[in-house]
């Protein structure tokens, strides 16, 4: 029985986990760097431990400090949130070895899906559509060229151990392949310690659509429908919604079944997300995230399921609370990531928040650890709030989004609010007709 949860994270997701624990009557332990002494997750947790100086490597990424913090506080479970150590198989292993319940999948699942080539292989064997490309990493340029010729240009080179756009190169013609291959390898080497890259068919105007899955210890696995995450800048999601305006109930079923098949083959536990590229009515496996997503609230709003509480229940050996039978999403939900950054240049803009007034009223949810006079430290990511709006359909959701953004007042730092607001007036966005290229081409 889990009774005290240590949250190995910071910011809004740490607070989000604390809220879930409070609702379940569980004690909470916050860990924090010296820069986060005065964060709300520290204030609202039952106990808190300073685990290191500001830099993540010496605090939120320090496995030994976090495990030691669990030891001295007597925590019996660890929630990793997202980012930091959330997809670190070694961390999950050590936690278990120290008798701590890791609230997430098994180390094996994390490790397997963390290796993009292996994950792709696994998906293929599970009968999940994948983009045509190399069988695993291509060692030499000529191997890469052979594959590229077969599947046809444009192709994309991806780091096998990668993520977040690093070690990625798009190549439109054979002439550019050599240089692309070499930069991709060296970037991969620098970023992930492994130069392995693989070759894949490149889609010109895909959508990014992901399926939320959940597995429990009885082996039951369910899909909670899709999230539309196509609106991205530099491979960073900015707006997410569910359901996707591009996905029919039948396609939802197909993608959900594919996702479940993949999870079955790895006997997947807890919350996970399968990311697909979607174009011309076809979907292709991209990768699997073995953790809670930043954008999980949109799924919560259309399913009524508290996914973080579900994570904890499932990690505690309880069965999924999701009912059986034909599953449908109810209403529509959209999330706007409010970052402390210049809305035009996307340059981070840390500093003191001088005014902070969240919108309220029907269908509006705000997940944030910020408040008036909070000083955003420069050491971490720039997400300061997630605005989630819900409506009976997409039109009402868009209207709510507009008025909520208009009434969301943040002073003292620049934020992405004006960009979100402009996107909500864009005919293509309103029409649901967009691809991952949307923001590159967006004029405002």
């Amino acid at each position: 029985m889990i009774s005290k949860v240590l949250i190995a994270n910071r910011g809004e997701i740490a607070l989000r986990v604390i809220l879930a624990c409070k609702e379940m009557g569980l004690k909470t332990v916050a860990v924090h760097s010296e820069a986060d002494r005065d964060s709300l997750h520290v204030r609202y947790a039952d106990e808190d431990v300073c685990i290191g100086p500001a830099p993540s490597r010496q605090s939120y990424l320090s496995i030994s400090s976090i495990i030691a913090a669990a030891e001295i506080t007597g925590a019996d479970a660890i929630h990793p949130g997202y980012g930091f150590l959330a997809e670190n198989a070694h961390f999950a292993e050590i936690a278990s070895e120290c008798g701590l319940t890791f609230i997430g999948p098994t180390p094996e699942s994390i490790r397997l899906m963390g290796d993009k080539a292996k994950a792709r292989e696994t998906a293929k064997n599970a009968g999940v559509p994948i983009l045509p490309g190399s069988e695993g990493p291509v060692k030499t340029f000529s191997d890469a060229a052979d594959v590229a010729r077969v599947i046809g240009f444009p192709v994309i080179l991806k780091a096998a151990a990668g993520g977040g756009g690093r070690g990625m190169r798009i190549c439109g013609a054979e002439a550019d392949l050599q240089s692309a291959f070499e930069t991709a390898r060296s970037e991969a080497e620098r970023a992930f310690g492994s130069a392995d890259v693989y070759v894949e068919k490149y889609l010109e105007r895909p959508r990014h659509i992901e399926i939320q899955v959940f597995g429990d210890s009885s082996g039951r696995i369910v899909s909670l429908g899709e999230r539309e995450c196509t609106i991205q800048r530099r491979h960073q999601k900015l707006i997410e919604e569910s359901p996707s305006p591009a996905i029919s109930q039948d396609m939802r079923q197909q993608m959900g079944d594919a996702a479940i098949r993949l999870c079955r083959t790895v006997n997947y536990k807890n919350a996970g997300t399968i990311e697909f590229l979607f174009q011309d009515g076809q979907f292709y496996f991209m990768e699997m995230n073995t953790r809670i997503q930043v954008e999980h609230p949109v799924t919560e709003e259309v399913t009524g399921i508290d996914m973080v509480k579900e994570q904890i229940r499932v990690a505690d050996g309880q069965p999924l609370s999701v009912p059986d039978g034909d599953f449908r999403l109810r209403g529509h939900a959209m999330e706007f990531r409010i970052n402390a950054e210049d809305p035009v240049t996307f340059a981070p803009h840390p500093g003191r928040i001088r005014e902070f007034n969240c919108p309220g009223g029907p269908g509006v949810r705000v997940d944030t650890a910020a408040y008036r006079d909070y000083v955003i430290p420069p050491h971490y990511d720039s997400l300061i709030a997630k605005l989630i709006v819900r409506g009976k359909d997409r039109a009402e959701t868009l209207a709510r989004g507009r008025r909520a953004l208009d009434l969301f007042i943040i002073e003292g730092v620049k934020t992405s609010i004006p960009l979100h607001r402009a996107i909500l007036d864009d005919p293509r966005f309103i029409g649901g007709d967009f691809s991952t290229k949307f923001l590159d081409e967006f004029q405002w």
Partner: protein, 160 residues
């Protein structure tokens, strides 16, 4: 035009808060203004009266953020400049001696030299020896033996 308008005073308060200055004093064109950075206790009591029991008002953190990284308790001890404070480089459990039977590594009054082992911090079943980073005399031991300690927590005060 006022010599100090509302906005300028806010500036000052922010500066005091952000720089972690305890108190500043300005004299200009016959104007004298002093601001103290430390948030005043009554606000917390007030917070209690409002039934927000363990709930500090959200502005407090931001103000506290102004304070030095050391804890309030720490601040007192800072007063004596000739004292050097050794803090814990890791999270764990504090032990003064290698094992329950043996003598403590150091006791008050001992003279220690840079590099001498002065205590053990146990983390993940590992006994981490903590060495003194200065030469001097141990004048204070902050934690109790066997007490859990966090990163940056004060272990010893040493007179240089």
């Amino acid at each position: 035009m006022a010599i100090l308008n509302f906005k300028e005073i806010l500036e000052l308060i922010d500066i005091v808060a952000e720089r972690g200055i305890a108190e500043i004093e300005i004299e200009q064109a016959g104007t004298k203004l002093r601001i103290q950075g430390k948030p005043s206790a009554p606000q917390v009591i007030h917070s209690y009266m409002n039934g927000q029991r363990d709930m500090p008002m959200p502005a407090l953190p931001a103000l506290a953020a102004s304070g030095p990284v050391l804890s309030a308790k720490a601040q007192e001890d800072e007063t004596d400049a000739s004292l050097h404070v050794i803090t814990s480089p890791i999270v764990g459990t504090f032990y003064r001696s290698p094992n329950p039977e043996s003598e403590p590594f150091v006791t008050i009054g001992d003279h220690v030299s840079k590099g001498k082992v002065i205590c053990i911090v146990e983390a993940m079943k590992l006994m981490n020896e903590i060495e003194s980073d200065v030469d001097g005399e141990i004048v204070k031991v902050f934690p109790q033996n066997g007490q859990p300690i966090e990163y940056g927590e004060k272990l010893f005060a040493v007179r240089l």
